[in-house]
């Protein structure tokens, strides 16, 4: 009996958290769809060329990078495959994008979900972004210095 009431309480608590979460999730996902509709990412690509230069990545990396950062690693990876097939990005650039996006992707959704649970969204976002930048830059440096050719 005790266990049943424990489970019922747990289910009520979980449903409450899910309801709170839904209040955030529904507007975010609608906003993401609207941003996609207005091709916001395409319009942002020019603005991050400087940041990409710091990561030693070409301007062509902008679109898959932004898509991955905002919409998630699955979409980012799909675009990356498309770009590499068309020959815009070489193996070195692809690997660096993969490393960056592994650490830092779908930042809007992830950050706001945890904010609902009481995490500090600014700390969360900056930590992920800074670590992704440092690690990607470090790998780029090591790859280029060792003259590794990626087959």
């Amino acid at each position: 009996m005790e266990i049943i009431s424990l489970l019922i309480n747990t289910i009520i608590e979980s449903l409450t958290s899910i309801a709170q979460l839904s209040l955030i999730l529904i507007p975010i996902l609608i906003m993401i769809e609207i941003a996609r509709h207005y091709q916001v990412i395409e319009k942002m690509t020019d603005k991050i060329k400087g940041a990409l230069r710091f990561l030693t990545l070409p301007g062509e990396a902008a679109f898959p990078m932004l898509a991955g950062i905002f919409f998630g690693i699955v979409l980012g990876a799909a675009l990356i495959i498309e770009y590499s097939r068309e020959g815009y990005l070489n193996k070195r650039d692809l690997l660096l994008i993969g490393i960056f996006l592994s650490i830092c992707h779908s930042v809007v959704e992830d950050t706001l979900i945890f904010a609902v649970f009481g995490a500090n969204p600014v700390v969360l976002l900056t930590t992920r972004l800074i670590l992704a930048i440092i690690i990607t830059r470090a790998v780029a440096y090591l790859l280029d210095r060792s003259g590794t050719k990626l087959a």
Partner: protein, 147 residues
């Protein structure tokens, strides 16, 4: 304006699917965690991992949230989190670690298309998450008493 209706509808139906998924994942996981607590198994797990979790300023219980995040997914970890009480600082550290490292079986397979091999991707994310947790806890404790 009519053209806006399509993305709004898409976003809405995507959120409904996601909410359904959340119900399917979070409820069983939080029930499991509640049962583990009830039968004292959680105490054993938490006690065993407490020294390691102390490095991140987290309680031993948070082990379960981290493991669920790494090997199942983000939402399963949320299920474990709903069954715990954490301070905002602990929640932030845990969120950073989970944000960096989650759903390894699926996401490392996806990212392998960039040429990043699966074991390398998994190691990269686990090591980055653990270092981020250590670093953030260190910064927090240096910055303000680390309550």
């Amino acid at each position: 304006m009519t053209s806006l209706l399509v993305p709004i509808k898409n976003g809405f139906s995507k959120s409904l699917n996601l909410i359904l998924l959340l119900v399917k994942i979070i409820i069983p996981v939080s029930c499991l965690v509640a049962l583990l607590k009830h039968f004292g198994i959680m105490e054993l797990i938490a006690g065993f991992f407490a020294p390691a979790m102390a490095l991140f300023g987290l309680p031993g219980e948070a082990t379960l949230a981290l493991l669920l995040s790494f090997f199942v997914n983000f939402y399963a970890a949320l299920g474990a989190i709903t069954a715990m009480t954490l301070t905002p600082q602990q929640m932030t550290v845990l969120a950073v670690m989970i944000g960096i490292c989650h759903e390894l079986p699926i996401e490392t397979a996806v990212s392998s298309y960039t040429g990043l091999r699966i074991p390398a991707a998994a190691a990269l994310r686990i090591i980055t998450a653990l270092s981020a947790g250590l670093l953030l806890n260190l910064i927090y404790s240096l910055a303000g008493g680390g309550s």
